[in-house]
């Protein structure tokens, strides 16, 4: 069993729904994004090019963040998900440095989105799941996965660009997509073996 994701860049419409779905599901603090869409402008007028890349934690098999964690707060679950036990994190930020995908965020402080009104009722509930002084990242919505559901970004994606499943099962949808459409990992040369694959635009 190894959970993984396939993101179809030919379907992605750059709408940021995944970003928001993640924020709603996980109630991440202000300014913290476990899932986001990177964009870049390349080239010069009159032949400019814009690239987009939705990113999240790659749940690497050889996760550099787990390797550098001194306390064991970052750990690899048997199902392939890389998770963080906040109660063991001392906030050294080594994992944030070591992650080649920029997936991790150190929580300096947990601020309300609308400071003049204080915490909203939603924030009051959701912020209880977070701590200051620790490093956070995407956990493939492990609470949803435990219930047999897919991560929020996958169910929300209106373009159906995201697929979730078991990479160890050759007949799963994700395995077939990767095989048929030559799914690629980000920065494969680093040997991190990410569990998130991309299909060419």
């Amino acid at each position: 069993m190894r959970y993984g994701m396939v993101i179809d860049l030919s379907a992605c419409v750059f709408c940021h729904s995944c970003t928001l779905a993640c924020k709603v599901e996980n109630g991440t603090p202000k300014g913290v994004y476990w899932s986001k869409v990177l964009h870049k402008e390349l080239g010069k007028y009159p032949t400019p090019k814009r690239t987009i890349l939705p990113v999240l934690c790659m749940h690497c098999q050889n996760a550099p963040c787990v390797e550098v964690c001194p306390t064991g707060a970052s750990y690899k679950r048997p199902d392939g998900i890389v998770a963080v036990d906040y109660d063991k994190c001392m906030g050294c930020k080594y994992c944030e440095i070591a992650c080649p995908y920029g997936a991790r965020t150190f929580i300096h402080e947990i601020k309300p989105y609308f400071s003049e009104f204080g915490l909203t009722p939603y924030e009051e509930v959701m912020y209880k799941k977070h701590q200051t002084g620790v490093v956070e990242k995407c956990n493939f919505c492990l609470e949803r996965v435990a219930k047999g559901e897919e991560p929020a970004c996958v169910t929300t994606c209106p373009a159906l660009a995201r697929h979730f499943g078991d990479l160890d099962d050759p007949n799963s949808e994700v395995s077939r997509l990767i095989a048929q459409r030559h799914g690629r990992q980000l920065l494969p040369e680093l040997g991190t073996e990410p569990s998130v694959y991309y299909l060419a635009p």
Partner: protein, 305 residues
């Protein structure tokens, strides 16, 4: 551009102080092995060692998001460079403190032989501390500018050189505090300062070379490390790099040391010691800025996604 801003000034000072403390201890103990001639270097070196590293560790503690949980870093010694480092540094501080106590308090009875053994083992941990500060960054594959054997080498050489700088600074400043005692030891003090210059010279030359190789090869690489090198050499950090690291930290000290050596006995003691103070200060300032610069230039591959 993807320059990391996760580790800032506190970590820069931590890396620097761990290096200087380790270097100073090695200088102090090394001088003690060479007999009476270099006695003026022994106490400054050993007294600076553990306290400087301890102050640095305190800064690391302050940089933690949850300092209360720092003890968890001791639990898995083999798991990460940080946990290895926490153990190395802690052992060095404890052993170094025992050595200081043995020198300071007659109640602490350590035989000559025991002190020598203690010194050798502590020196081993001092060198490990200095190397660790480089390996901490060196193992990070996501930052190709750090991920090279040249980085731990650079930090090791710099640690020993700044350690000599700290010791010569203290020896030089002693003239202002206890002028009579220094005058009484005139021969030894002169010998000691000259010896430090002689030893430090090749270290600085090595450091210049390693730094040049690092920056030159990284600038020529096709990875994002080229941006790190550019940032230091011609980019936003160029003034601090050229003026702080290269000129103040390396070229000025190497010139002063070479000059004081060629003048030899022709320099008065006061002149020689003041020169030592300036050299020491320059080495230390350069050492701090080097750590700042290397950290600030850490461009992560995540910036190239």
């Amino acid at each position: 551009m993807g320059l990391q801003n996760v580790w800032g000034p506190l970590i820069a000072w931590y890396l620097f102080l761990a290096g200087v403390g380790a270097g100073a201890y090695v200088v102090g103990f090394g001088a003690s092995l060479l007999g009476e001639r270099y006695r003026p270097l022994v106490k400054p070196g050993i007294y600076l060692g553990a306290p400087l590293v301890a102050i640095g560790s305190l800064l690391l503690l302050l940089d933690l998001g949850a300092p209360i949980r720092f003890w968890m870093g001791f639990l898995r010694p083999q798991s990460s460079m940080i946990s290895v480092g926490i153990w190395i540094i802690s052992i060095f501080i404890v052993l170094g403190a025992i050595h200081i106590a043995a020198l300071l308090f007659p109640q602490v009875k350590l035989s000559e032989k025991a002190q020598r053994w203690l010194g050798w083992i502590t020196s081993l941990f001092a060198l490990a501390t200095a190397i660790y500060t480089g390996l901490l960054l060196g193992v990070v594959k996501a930052v190709p500018f750090w991920n090279t054997p040249m980085l731990p080498l650079l930090f090791l050489v710099s640690a020993l050189s700044t350690g000599m700088g700290a010791v010569v600074l203290v020896v030089g400043l002693r003239r202002w505090v206890t002028p009579k005692a220094v005058e009484a030891e005139k021969e030894q003090v002169t010998e000691s300062v000259h010896a430090l210059s002689r030893v430090d010279l090749p270290f600085i030359v090595t450091e210049l070379l390693v730094l040049f190789f690092l920056v030159f090869l990284m600038a020529a690489s096709r990875t994002i490390a080229a941006e790190s090198a550019r940032y230091l050499v011609t980019g936003g950090y160029a003034v601090a790099f050229w003026l702080g690291v290269v000129v103040i930290g390396l070229l000025v000290p190497v010139t002063l040391e070479a000059w004081s050596l060629t003048r030899g006995k022709g320099l008065s003691l006061a002149r020689l010691l003041d020169l030592g103070v300036v050299t020491g200060l320059c080495l230390l300032v350069g050492g701090v800025i080097l750590r700042y610069a290397v950290l600030a230039a850490g461009a992560s591959v995540s910036g190239s996604l």
